[in-house]
Amino acid sequence: MENFLTQIQGVPLNHYIIFCSIIFAIGVTGVLIRRNVIIIMMSIELMLNSVNLLLAAFSAYRGDASGQVFVFFIMALAAAEVAVGLAIIVMVYRHTKSVDIESLSKLRW
């Protein structure tokens, strides 16, 4: 465990922050510019995981395990979210024969 912590602390904290920000930004960009719903789902996962990574890093630096506990929660939640999201995508596909996000633009007033 000690070994594991020193391994993580071997990389400066700033690097983690910059790296996670980049991944998060990629995720946001993906959600904004892609039209394929599955890719949007993947981009969301990307954002979630960047946060996970950052939480783990902070947790290790501060020597506080609660950050890692959050990570587990987020992973469980992400799994559930993907399950529901994919189910919705499947249903949408059956109706519209498309996974284009614009195919849902009728859902308005």
Partner: protein, 638 residues
């Protein structure tokens, strides 16, 4: 007996409830019997109550019994009780109300027999008796006010009894609204009394008032307001125009409410409050002037009316004017005596008119009657008695009461006496005109009506006969000393009328002067009767009336244009004001504001919902921008 006094109003109330609930489910005869029996029971109880009061008076006591039923409400130091007061004044009023009321119930059983609203009619009549007995029995002004409002309601319901005819319905509304003006006076008077004396109980108010000086402003205000109330209920100038219109109701209603009982409530109110009025000479003077003017004006209008009920209605207004003249000059006993005799002969005349109307198939225009003497012998005889009584020819009832008022008036102010005398002559003329037009000459209606003319059934003639007997003998209860009597009624009422410190006006005329006054009025009345005979008893060409249209005739025929005057001065401006308020204040102002608020939110909602485009990318973009904005705000603001 006095402990059971609360049964007198309660039984008619029960009758009202029973009749009201079962009006559509029982045969007419049951409604009639229930209604009549309820009033008969009240009459029997009233008679017992009267006998008790009478016995107490003979024994020399003041004969005033207060029965406390329950405490109604108490606020601070003010305690208002529902309690009844049985004294000589209320005992006699009870006898009039329930006695005449019972006769009219009997009469209605036959008169209304073919009406589909029979049960409803009896329910209303019983409700009226309930409120009227409450009015006279209350031992404080508030209980009287309950009855006062209640009889107004019943009057409205019964005038508009045939409400499908819209002119009848508007007559009912007119009566209700004009009464309301008077009732406002009553209500204000209540507040002033409460403020000045801290109580509404007659006994406490009068005891407290005795200590005040004559002409104290608060007393003048109270009495004037009470008089306003009386002008509304008793149809005095300026609030008298509702009473002639009230003839839209069934004839028994006109007899009971608009002749014998309700319209005399104003007189009762003033007699009851005589202690206050004697302390306010100004109010008395105003009352006398209003009374004598009303008496004269109404009699003048009655001269030329052709509707048999309208003549009687104006005659009622005129007689009520007499009563207020009597009250104004301090002849409280005389005025109340006139209430009593007027109840007999005017109820008789109305019921007789109803009998005539019944006989000629709901025709009310006297120009289309005539010659009914042979066909309706009982109605003719009783109406002749009523006519003689109201004309003031001795020894019938009206002579005594009218002459007592006139004698007091002469002593107070001879000018009023002259006007009163002229009114009396008018009265004799129009009443005999009515009689001759209806019963003498040739029948002027259609042949079909003539073939149906018949005397009314016994249920209608028996009340007529009883009232006729009362109209003959009713005057003898208060024979003046000049004619060898000893003012029995005055002695009986003495405890009610002589409570205050200020002395009542005592008639100081010599007997000789009284004889002269009586002689003048009797002779005048007889001359008028003869004049009317020559003019109307022969085969009169009714169209004659048209030819001799003088200015006075037209003024009288068109009722002095009072209704038109009110319409121009009050009703139409008010109507215009209402339209203004409706159009500009209500529609544009209030509705505009309320609808404007709604329109604003609808409009802004329409605009904002364009944001919900259905493009998920757009939503996410907005979300990201917002999150970034919040972040930036958090960073730079802290």
């Amino acid at each position: 007996m006095s402990a059971l006094i609360w049964l007198i109003p309660l039984i008619p109330l029960l009758g009202f409830i029973i009749n009201g609930l079962t009006r559509n489910s029982v045969p007419k005869i049951v409604s009639g019997i229930v209604g009549s029996l309820a009033v008969l029971a009240s009459f029997v109880l009233s008679t017992l109550a009267y006998l008790e009061v009478s016995a107490a008076r003979d024994a020399g006591s003041v004969a005033s019994f207060t029965v406390h039923v329950f405490d109604w409400f108490s606020v601070g130091s003010l305690r208002i009780a529902l309690s009844f007061l049985l004294d000589p004044l209320s005992a006699i009023m009870l006898l009039i109300i329930t006695g005449v009321g019972f006769l009219i119930h009997l009469y209605s059983c036959a008169y209304m027999a073919h009406d589909e609203g029979f049960g409803k009619f009896f329910a209303y009549l019983n409700l009226f008796i309930f409120f009227m007995t409450i009015l006279v029995l209350g031992s404080n002004y508030l209980v009287m006010f309950i009855g006062w409002e209640g009889v107004g309601l019943c009057s409205y319901l019964l005038i508009g009894f045939w409400f499908k005819n819209s002119s009848y319905a508007s007559a009912a509304k007119k009566a209700f609204i004009m009464n309301r003006i008077g009732d406002l006076g009553f209500l204000l008077a209540l507040f002033f009394i409460l403020e000045a004396f801290g109580s509404l109980e007659y006994a406490e108010v009068f005891a407290a008032a005795s200590g005040m000086s004559v002409g104290a402003p608060v007393i003048v205000i109270i009495t004037l307001l009470l008089f306003v109330a009386a002008t509304g209920k008793s149809a005095q100038i300026p609030l008298f125009t509702w009473l002639p219109d009230a003839m839209a109701g069934p004839t028994p209603v006109s007899a009971l409410i608009h002749a014998a009982t309700m319209v005399t409530a104003g007189v009762y109110l003033v007699v009851r409050s005589n202690v206050l009025f004697l302390l306010a000479p100004l109010s008395m003077e105003i009352m006398a002037v209003v009374g004598v003017v009303t008496a004269f004006v109404a009699a003048f209008i009655a001269l030329t009316q052709n509707d048999i009920k309208k003549v009687l209605a104006y005659s009622t207004v005129s007689q009520l004017g007499y009563m207020f003249l009597g009250l104004g000059v301090g002849a409280f006993t005389g005025a109340f005596f006139h209430v009593l005799t007027h109840a007999f002969f005017k109820a008789l005349l109305f019921l007789g008119a109803g009998s005539v109307i019944h006989a000629v198939q709901d025709e009310q225009d006297m120009r289309k009657m005539g010659g009914l003497r042979k066909a309706l012998p009982i109605t003719f005889t009783t109406m002749l008695i009523g006519t003689i009584a109201i004309s003031g020819i001795p020894p019938f009832a009206g002579f005594f009461s009218k002459d007592e008022i006139l004698a007091h008036t002469f002593q107070h102010q001879p000018v009023f006496w002259v006007i009163g005398l002229i009114t009396a002559l008018f009265t004799a003329f129009y009443m005999f005109r009515l009689l001759f037009l209806t019963f003498f000459g040739k029948f002027r209606g259609t042949a079909e009506q003539q073939s149906h003319v018949h005397e009314s059934p016994w249920l209608m003639t028996v009340p007529l006969i009883i009232l006729a007997i009362l109209s003959v003998v009713g005057g003898f209860i208060n024979v003046p000393e000049a004619l060898g009597g000893h003012h029995a009624l005055q002695a009986f009422l003495a405890p009610v009328l002589e409570m205050g410190e200020v002395n009542h006006t005592v008639l100081e005329l010599s007997h000789m002067a009284e004889y002269v006054l009586m002689g003048v009025s009797v002779l005048g009345a007889l001359m008028m009767a003869v004049f009317a005979y020559t003019k109307y008893a022969k085969n009169v060409d009714v169209a004659d009336d048209k030819k001799q249209e003088s200015l006075l005739y037209r003024l009288s025929y068109s009722k002095l244009y009072v209704d038109e005057l009110y319409a121009t001065v009050i009703v139409r401006p008010l109507g215009k004001l209402s339209v203004f308020f409706f159009k500009y204040v209500d529609k544009m102002g209030i509705d505009g504001f309320v609808n404007g608020v709604g329109d604003f939110f609808i409009g802004s909602g329409k605009g904002i919902r364009q944001l919900q485009s259905g493009h998920v990318g757009f939503y996410i973009m907005m979300m990201v921008i917002s999150v970034v904005a919040i972040l930036l705000y958090g960073i730079f603001h802290s």
